[in-house]
């Protein structure tokens, strides 16, 4: 049974991730429509300018709520360790596909962990500032300087979020096997050993051995 793949993400985890991803694209594209005139044409995807303005905050709030689901599922795997700092110091090697000499990685590498916390901070800033600038329901509770700060913070956090997700998506394209992990859930043993050695050791320890399963060698 040495070649049996490993389940990296359960069906619920995968579903949660892709709901956030879809909502990110909807909130992101509608947000970019209002971000710069060069992208205003994106508002046509949502039924025009007013519909973009109406829908964007709801999509954003939905994204935040489902993102919280991901946070609850994965936060405990995302604390940075000493190994992570060493891994980050060798980030140039990682980028050259020469990660062999670096410390072994747990469920997530340092880049993934930093992405997790960056996304969480962005989401929180986007939520709070988004409420402040949500003219239809909430802006009348806030002073003009708060609203101006909110508009600026919203744009900055949105920018950082989009940049982070560009990195996230590219990492998926670059590291073969990782998209599959999030699509159907399974990764090969070789993949787990290569990219997440500590996690691999952990999950294989927990697997029942052949003798426990009553299979004679």
């Amino acid at each position: 049974m040495k070649d049996k793949p490993i389940l990296r993400y359960t069906a619920n985890e995968r579903t949660n991730h892709w709901i956030v991803a879809i909502l990110f694209f909807m909130a992101g594209l509608s947000g970019l429509a209002l971000f710069h005139p060069a992208l205003f044409w994106l508002s046509h995807l949502f039924g025009g300018g007013p519909w973009t303005r109406i829908l964007h905050p709801f999509m954003g709030v939905a994204m935040f709520v489902f993102f919280l689901g991901l946070v609850i599922r994965f936060w405990r795997y995302n604390f940075l360790t000493a190994n992570d700092r060493q891994w980050l110091r060798g980030i140039d090697k990682v980028l050259r596909n020469e990660e062999e000499g670096l410390p072994p990685v747990g469920k997530y590498n340092a880049g993934q962990k930093l992405l997790f916390w960056t996304l969480l901070v962005c989401m929180l800033v986007l939520l709070v500032s988004g409420v402040v600038i949500w003219r239809a329901y909430f802006s009348h509770w806030f002073g003009i300087e708060s609203i101006r700060l909110g508009a600026l913070a919203h744009a900055v956090a949105g920018f950082v979020l989009v940049m982070s997700i560009i990195v996230h998506i590219y990492a998926g394209i670059w590291i073969k096997g990782s998209v599959g992990a999030m699509l159907h859930g399974w990764v090969s043993r070789a993949w787990a050993r290569k990219h997440h050695a500590l996690w691999y050791r952990q999950v294989t320890r927990e697997e029942p051995t052949d003798s426990q399963k009553g299979i004679k060698p």
Partner: protein, 316 residues
């Protein structure tokens, strides 16, 4: 007004039509002549077919209490006690200042929802308005209001429809004391200068014209008795500017951010092209590798030096 006369347009990055030169207009509001009769408010509602809800008395003469999507101008009353201990009743007709550098236009994300005409009038095109309220965020004077009925932004148009056909704005037409006058910006400045000389001769040493540089000048100007303290007049900003937060939000940062996003995508693409994907060698697992030979070229003869003189083989 012809479309050639639009010299600035919200959320538009290419140059506007600029062939025709139109004289800049201005409305001059002389607070020293205003008696607070609110005829201008009524005329504004009449001409623009606005019928705001009848509100409540809030214990001041301000009525309605604030500007709204259906009240585009408003007398604001201030009771000011001067140094001599005398009461001065400062009345200011509030409304859009028609800035030369409009903060609303800078903030607006919808192309063409806010335009500036060559004569200086800043106009909202509700047909293109998406109702986001960014114009409110950008305005240094707290003027635009979003209607709760249609979620569009509204404010004083300086009666652009009247001005386009050579008429003065409705409020100017109706003002019984001549406190509101309208004409070319240059003429209005000259007129204001005469008024200021008169006011100074009557003891208002600080009388002056309010045409703030911080927003490039305005096309609605005030003659103030106390031009050194505009904020006396119901919080008229002393030095109005587009907030630096709005400048940062809508300034050069946006195209740079857009560039950075594009660059990030390109960086990923070229990383893939130059470094390539990170694949797992699936056969690097520790189980014994399959070393059996499946196909043997008959021309290849295996020679094992550890076993000299393999039978049936001639040593060279």
């Amino acid at each position: 007004m012809a479309s050639q006369d639009i010299i600035a347009r919200s959320a538009t990055t290419t140059p506007p039509p600029s062939i025709r030169q139109l004289e800049e207009v201005a409305k001059l509001i002389d607070t020293t002549k205003c008696i607070g009769c609110k005829a201008c408010q009524v005329a504004c509602s009449e001409w623009n077919e606005l019928r705001d809800e009848v509100g409540h008395n809030h214990g001041t003469y301000d009525n309605p209490q604030d500007l709204s999507a259906e009240s585009w101008t408003l007398m604001r009353f201030t009771e000011h006690e001067n140094e001599a201990g005398n009461l001065e009743w400062l009345i200011r007709k509030d409304g859009c200042m028609h800035c030369a550098e409009p903060g609303c236009l800078k903030a607006c994300p919808s192309p063409g929802a806010i335009i500036k005409h060559a004569n200086g009038i800043v106009d909202f095109n509700q047909d293109h308005c998406i109702g986001c309220g960014y114009c409110i965020t950008g305005c240094p004077f707290n003027i635009p209001r979003i209607s709760q009925k249609d979620h569009k932004a509204y404010k004083c148009t300086l009666c652009s429809d009247r001005v386009a056909v050579g008429l003065e704005p409705a409020c100017v037409k109706t003002c019984p004391t001549g406190a509101i006058v309208f004409g070319s910006k240059e003429d209005m400045k000259t007129h204001a200068a005469e008024r200021i000389v008169d006011l100074k001769s009557r003891g208002f040493d600080q009388a002056g014209l309010y045409d703030p540089d911080g927003v490039g000048g305005t096309h609605v100007m005030y003659v103030l008795h106390h031009a050194d303290q505009p904020s006396l007049y119901a919080g008229l900003p002393n030095q109005p500017v587009i907030s630096p937060l709005v400048g940062l939000w809508k300034g050069v940062t946006k195209p740079l951010a857009l560039l950075a996003m594009g660059a990030a995508v390109l960086a990923g693409f070229f990383h893939y092209v130059r470094v390539g994907p990170n694949r797992v060698e699936e056969d690097e697992h520790p189980s014994a590798p399959d070393t059996s030979v499946h196909q043997v070229d008959p021309a290849v003869h295996v020679y094992d030096p550890g076993k000299p003189g393999t039978p049936g083989e001639e040593r060279p």
